[in-house]
């Protein structure tokens, strides 16, 4: 019962955060509300017994990636006057909602047809570091290695793109 209660709190928070992201004019506010969404998502992961992912969501997503984004926003020193004027935003929002309703309703229909199960917390032996690590390094070794290469490539790419260039070359 308590878990269910928690689920509703977290889901309302995350939806509010997402709506805030879409509606706030300044990206700093948007980033702050996105952090709200991410932290509530971390809570939901915990409710789903994914302990490792819960931790990683907090550390990597809400921590590292979001602070990187915030850092860049501050680095560029964005003033309100720098922001683009978004005159047709409301029309786009309304049109978007109209377009997304069929998609959402279709997907919800699909989800409803799935076999349900109670979201009780599973105890030991599920979603911990050891268990996920075993699965990761046994069944998912190749994708894991590929992702490591991907990270390396994006690292180099970021350096090449954003790095300073010598004049005249």
């Amino acid at each position: 019962m308590f878990a269910e209660w928690l689920f509703y709190v977290f889901s309302v928070l995350s939806v509010l955060g997402a709506v805030g992201l879409v509606l706030f004019r300044h990206p700093m506010s948007g980033a702050m509300s996105l952090i709200v969404t991410m932290i509530s998502l971390a809570g939901l992961y915990a409710l789903l017994s994914a302990k490792l992912i819960f931790v990683l969501q907090l550390i990597v997503y809400a921590g590292a990636i979001m602070s990187l984004i915030l850092f860049i926003i501050m680095f560029l020193n964005i003033q309100t006057s720098d922001l683009p004027e978004e005159k047709g935003k409301l029309y786009f929002l309304a049109g978007g909602v109209v377009l997304l309703l069929p998609i959402a309703s279709f997907l919800i229909k699909v989800v409803k047809s799935l076999p349900g199960s109670e979201a009780t917390i599973v105890g030991k032996g599920f979603g911990g570091v050891k268990e996920v690590g075993l699965v990761l390094f046994q069944d998912w070794l190749l994708p894991f290695e590929i992702v490591s290469i991907l990270l390396l490539v994006s690292l180099i790419g970021a350096v090449v793109l954003a790095g300073k260039r010598r004049v005249g070359k």
């Binding site: 269910e4 689920f7 889901s11 995350s14 997402a18 709506v19 992201l21 879409v22 004019r25 990206p27 948007g30 980033a31 996105l34 969404t37 991410m38 998502l41 939901l44 992961y45 789903l48 017994s49 994914a50 490792l52 992912i53 990597v60 997503y61 990636i65 990187l68 984004i69 860049i72 926003i73 680095f75 964005i78 720098d82 922001l83 683009p84 978004e86 935003k89 978007g96 997304l100 997907l107 989800v111 799935l114 349900g116 109670e118 599973v122 599920f126 979603g127 996920v132 699965v135 990761l136 998912w140 994708p143 992702v147 990270l151 994006s154 690292l155 790419g157 970021a158 793109l161 954003a162």
Partner: protein, 98 residues
């Protein structure tokens, strides 16, 4: 009960799409994409719980890694664009126009 998680994931995903198509601020668009990735992650983990298999969690892990890589590159591109155009409006970048 477990479907509620999935419905939440759908709602978040749709909000992400809404952000991408309605906003002109590069950062907001970028964060909306992150939101969509998170929604997908939620679906993965829900399914992992549903089937009591940890493959979904591993996938969520991989998505996080990809998101990190994407963030690094995308922010580099944003800095570059800001340097060149001095602007964060996506409508400024319209080289695809025929």
């Amino acid at each position: 009960m477990i479907q509620h998680y999935l419905i939440l994931s759908i709602i978040l995903f749709c909000l992400g799409i809404l952000g991408v198509i309605s906003r002109r601020n590069v950062f907001t668009v970028f964060m909306s994409i992150e939101l969509m990735l998170n929604a997908a992650n939620l679906a993965f983990i829900t399914f992992s719980r549903l089937h009591l298999s940890m493959d979904g969690q591993v996938l969520a892990l991989l998505v996080m890694a990809v998101a990190a890589a994407e963030a690094a590159l995308a922010l580099a591109v944003v800095i570059l664009l800001h340097k060149h155009k001095g602007n964060l409006d996506t409508n400024v970048f319209s080289l695809l126009k025929g």
